[in-house]
């Protein structure tokens, strides 16, 4: 595993541990934790604090039959939910979002491709495939954007991002990420708002591509 230099901010890990991140962001953060031991340790620290809050919080009186009802179900058979493991470059949360299938890529032109994993009122999350040396169209964001590199690398005004690195961008960042030479760059990217493109043409195409 490459050395990861761009980590998740602490607040994002706390929000993920507390379960308040919108689904698209939760998927990216879960994937980053899958690849980054440092952030996993911090995430587990947040769970420990959550545990302390649970442990020292107020109790509520239980219905008298709850314990018996629970104990009587210990032997009930359950169908386990399907569990997915890592597949190639994709950490297990991405494999689960793909339901174990390979991504269904759609062309964005110029060799770039995307595969939308989910989209809705909470935002969208997709895989992006950018050929080596090629720029992602110049864009800024209405809201937050998280980008996690799964293969290759990209660079923008804020630095170079390799496998496992997480970029957190907000609306103040007008950046022009460009895939580095070498392997094509594959990223997992989540936004809570449609991207705004600086150039006119991509903006016209935006509804078409849903990016």
């Amino acid at each position: 595993m490459n050395a990861i230099t761009h980590h998740s901010p602490d607040s994002l890990l706390a929000a993920f541990a507390a379960g308040v991140l919108e689904h698209p962001f939760a998927l990216v953060v879960a994937s980053h934790i899958s690849m980054c031991l440092d952030c996993r340790a911090t995430f587990e620290a947040h769970l420990a604090i959550g545990g302390a809050v649970l442990e020292s919080g107020a109790t509520a009186v239980l219905s008298s039959d709850l314990k018996g009802a629970t104990l009587s179900q210990l032997d009930h058979p359950v169908t386990p939910r399907p569990e997915y493991g890592r597949k190639g470059i994709f950490p297990s949360p991405v494999v689960e979002a793909l339901k174990g299938q390979t991504p269904r890529w759609k062309s964005l032109g110029m060799g770039a491709r995307q595969s939308i994993l989910s989209q809705g009122s909470e935002g969208s999350v997709r895989l992006l495939y950018i050929p080596p040396g090629q720029a992602v169209p110049d864009h800024s964001h209405n809201g937050m954007e998280l980008t996690l590199v799964l293969q290759g690398s990209f660079s923008d005004s804020t630095g170079r991002f390799g496998v496992g690195d997480l970029e957190v961008a907000d609306h103040s960042l007008e950046h022009s990420p460009k895939a580095d030479d070498g392997a094509a760059c594959i990223c997992l990217a989540a936004t809570d708002a449609p991207l705004r493109f600086a150039a006119l043409l991509p903006r016209l195409l935006q509804p078409l591509f849903r990016i």
């Binding site: 901010p9 602490d10 607040s11 994002l12 706390a14 929000a15 541990a17 507390a18 379960g19 308040v20 991140l21 689904h23 962001f25 939760a26 998927l27 953060v29 879960a30 994937s31 934790i33 899958s34 031991l37 440092d38 996993r40 340790a41 995430f43 587990e44 620290a45 947040h46 769970l47 420990a48 604090i49 959550g50 545990g51 302390a52 809050v53 649970l54 442990e55 020292s56 919080g57 107020a58 109790t59 509520a60 009186v61 239980l62 219905s63 709850l66 314990k67 009802a69 629970t70 179900q73 210990l74 359950v78 939910r81 493991g85 890592r86 950490p91 297990s92 949360p93 689960e96 979002a97």
Partner: protein, 211 residues
């Protein structure tokens, strides 16, 4: 320490924990205490011990109900969640490693996942299980570090000002947004997190043992 402690050797399944410590009895102080919750969880994991599970239920179910109701569920739904969480504790006990997480932290995560799954009708993304299929090497000293950490955390929570404590509780109950966490929680979080330093070392240690 406030928490009820039991003699390690008085719990049959907890003998395992001492294998490293007992190699050289001359240097070993009297059996180190572990918390009742941890001993019970190990008994559930290793021996499918129903009596131990009943003790865990008595300890955690009222706390879980209080916790879940504070984060917005009605009493009836809260009991459903409590039952579901406790059954998950029983079924997934093989994933519990006392050298990596406190019982309370482990149950906190299960509870938040469950609440969110119910709320959103979709499965919350979870990080890849790097330790899947691992045979946990019993290591009494690691377990004690984790136990101690739980005590430090609870003490750190108690030492916060009432305002800060409320913020921390709200955050881990899922009542603050990511934005609110990043703007409001910096100070108290720093105070608490300073109590947790060993997470990364611990993860590296476990991973090294697996390879």
């Amino acid at each position: 320490m406030g928490m009820s402690m039991i003699d390690l050797y008085s719990v049959p399944s907890a003998h395992l924990l001492c294998c490293r410590a007992t190699k050289d009895m001359s240097k070993v102080p009297p059996a180190p205490p572990i918390s009742t919750q941890t001993a019970c969880m190990i008994a559930v994991r290793d021996n499918r011990d129903r009596a131990a599970f009943a003790l865990l239920f008595d300890h955690f179910a009222p706390r879980l109900k209080g916790f879940v109701m504070r984060s917005g569920s009605g009493a009836a739904q809260a009991e459903e969640i409590v039952q579901d969480v406790m059954l998950t504790v029983w079924r997934k006990a093989d994933q519990f490693d006392p050298a990596r997480a406190q019982v309370s932290a482990w149950i906190y995560q299960i509870a938040r996942n469950r609440q969110i799954d119910l709320l959103r009708k979709e499965r919350r993304p979870v990080p890849e299980d790097l330790f899947k299929g691992a045979v946990f090497e019993p290591d009494a000293s690691e377990v004690l570090v984790v136990e101690q950490e739980a005590e430090y955390l609870k003490a750190a929570l108690r030492q916060l000002s009432p305002e800060q404590r409320t913020i921390v509780e709200k955050a881990y109950l899922g009542e603050l947004t990511h934005q609110e966490i990043s703007t409001e929680m910096g100070l108290p979080l720093g105070t608490i997190k300073s109590r947790i330093r060993l997470g990364l070392d611990r993860l590296r240690h476990v991973l090294k043992d697996m390879r």
